[in-house]
């Protein structure tokens, strides 16, 4: 009954909550439950202020009328979470180095081109981490062209990502000191990622609920810690559309608490690789024993 206690402490009416719940679901796929009322209040306060509303109630009223798309956009951006860090969780980056890149390099030996999509790139730590790994492996990648597309639903967070300026706290979360020395320049109490790293990432606004075909096809898709905020049909839709954007020998990485199991048949877990998925028709699934047909009656 925690949410009820919170509700009594807070001013938001349940009918108001429903307005935000429906709006966020429709515009971003984000599912919010009543225990997140406190989050609505803390994050939307600044939006109300920015638009000159005296408080959350006035903002809610405005949203019930015919709100400007920019206002709706601000609300959605404020509510979509942006927690991230360099080399977050370590494992996917180890897999990228040790499993994915060797396999993809074997498959793309003729074209020497690799396309990577960071589908919820937030403030840029994930794509920049990938660039830093690729820089480390440079000697093994002569003549290769690796394109990294980094998308997020939030314009504000993408602007931050493009700037590539991080606090001392942020650069200490997951980033080895050697990489900080190699790829960053200190600017007062902030750390600025080098232009050499920045220019290897293309940032673009994209909503995962939208049609993905214009993005083209990818060899590797990072889609971590975003599906957890979606309901099951939305997860399924995103995963199945992503499968269409992935080369049949490509890879998908999900977050630690995410899975395709019970959601879609389009992706299969790569055996013994937690969080790493391949398409159901992937050549990397050859370890699965071929089922011999037995005579049937």
């Amino acid at each position: 009954m925690l949410w009820q206690e919170r509700f009594e402490l807070n001013t938001m009416r349940l009918t108001d909550f429903d307005i935000y719940r429906d709006l966020l679901k429709e515009k971003s796929g984000l599912i919010i439950t009543q225990d997140k009322i406190y989050l609505l209040e803390s994050r939307l306060g600044p939006v109300a202020k920015k638009w000159g509303y005296p408080g959350l109630e006035a903002l809610t009223l405005a949203l019930q009328g015919a709100p400007k798309p920019e206002l709706v956009n601000d609300v959605v951006e404020a509510m979509t979470t942006n927690e991230t860090s360099f080399f977050r969780d370590t494992r996917p980056f180890d897999q990228f180095k040790a499993v994915i890149l060797p396999k993809i390099m074997e498959k793309r030996a003729a074209t020497k081109k690799i396309r990577i999509w960071c589908a919820a790139a937030s403030s840029g730590q994930e794509p920049y981490s990938l660039v830093m790994i690729l820089e480390e492996m440079k000697a093994k990648l002569p003549g290769w062209k690796v394109e990294i597309l980094a998308t997020d639903i939030s314009n504000d967070i993408l602007a931050q990502a493009r700037q590539g300026v991080y606090t001392q706290f942020e650069v200490q979360r997951g980033l080895p000191i050697q990489m900080l020395m190699t790829h960053f320049v200190q600017d007062g109490d902030k750390w600025q990622i080098s232009d050499a790293v920045k220019k290897q990432v293309t940032f673009q606004k994209f909503n995962l609920l939208d049609n993905m075909s214009a993005l083209g096809r990818f060899d590797i898709i990072f889609c971590r810690n975003v599906l957890i905020y979606f309901d099951e049909p939305t997860k399924r839709g995103v995963l199945e559309r992503m499968a269409k954007q992935c080369e049949n020998d490509g890879f998908l990485l999900l977050g630690g608490a995410e899975t395709v199991l019970g959601i879609t048949e389009e992706w299969r877990l790569l055996p013994e690789q937690r969080g790493l998925y391949v398409r159901k028709d992937s050549p990397h699934l050859t370890t699965a024993p071929a089922v011999s047909k037995t005579a049937s009656a």
Binding site: Q172, Q186, D189
Partner: protein, 123 residues
Amino acid sequence: MKSCLVVDDSRVVRKVARRIAEDLGFSCIEAEDGKQAYEACQKSMPDAILLDWNMPVMSGIEFLEKLRQMEGGSYPKVVFCTTENNVAHIKRALQAGANEYIMKPFDSEIIENKFRQVGLIEG
């Protein structure tokens, strides 16, 4: 059980760092300055050393340079943990043989992260 030597002239910082290292499964010993740390290493080489820079008697960097010349002194993973946060200090520390570098203020997550990066903890 792995051991961690916590070197800092502030009793409060030692206490905080010790608590974090113990939570990560280390047995801890403390030293108030580089000299005490050096003596502790002569008795027994720890697996990890959390090292402050500015201390009376012997600074962190002096201690590190001496440590790396000791017999068995290349074994401990040394993580600097200091308010010195500029590139010159960091580069000097790495040159002297530091494995990682934490700029204060720190929290348990940062220490855990750095310990993992240098292979002191797994996963």
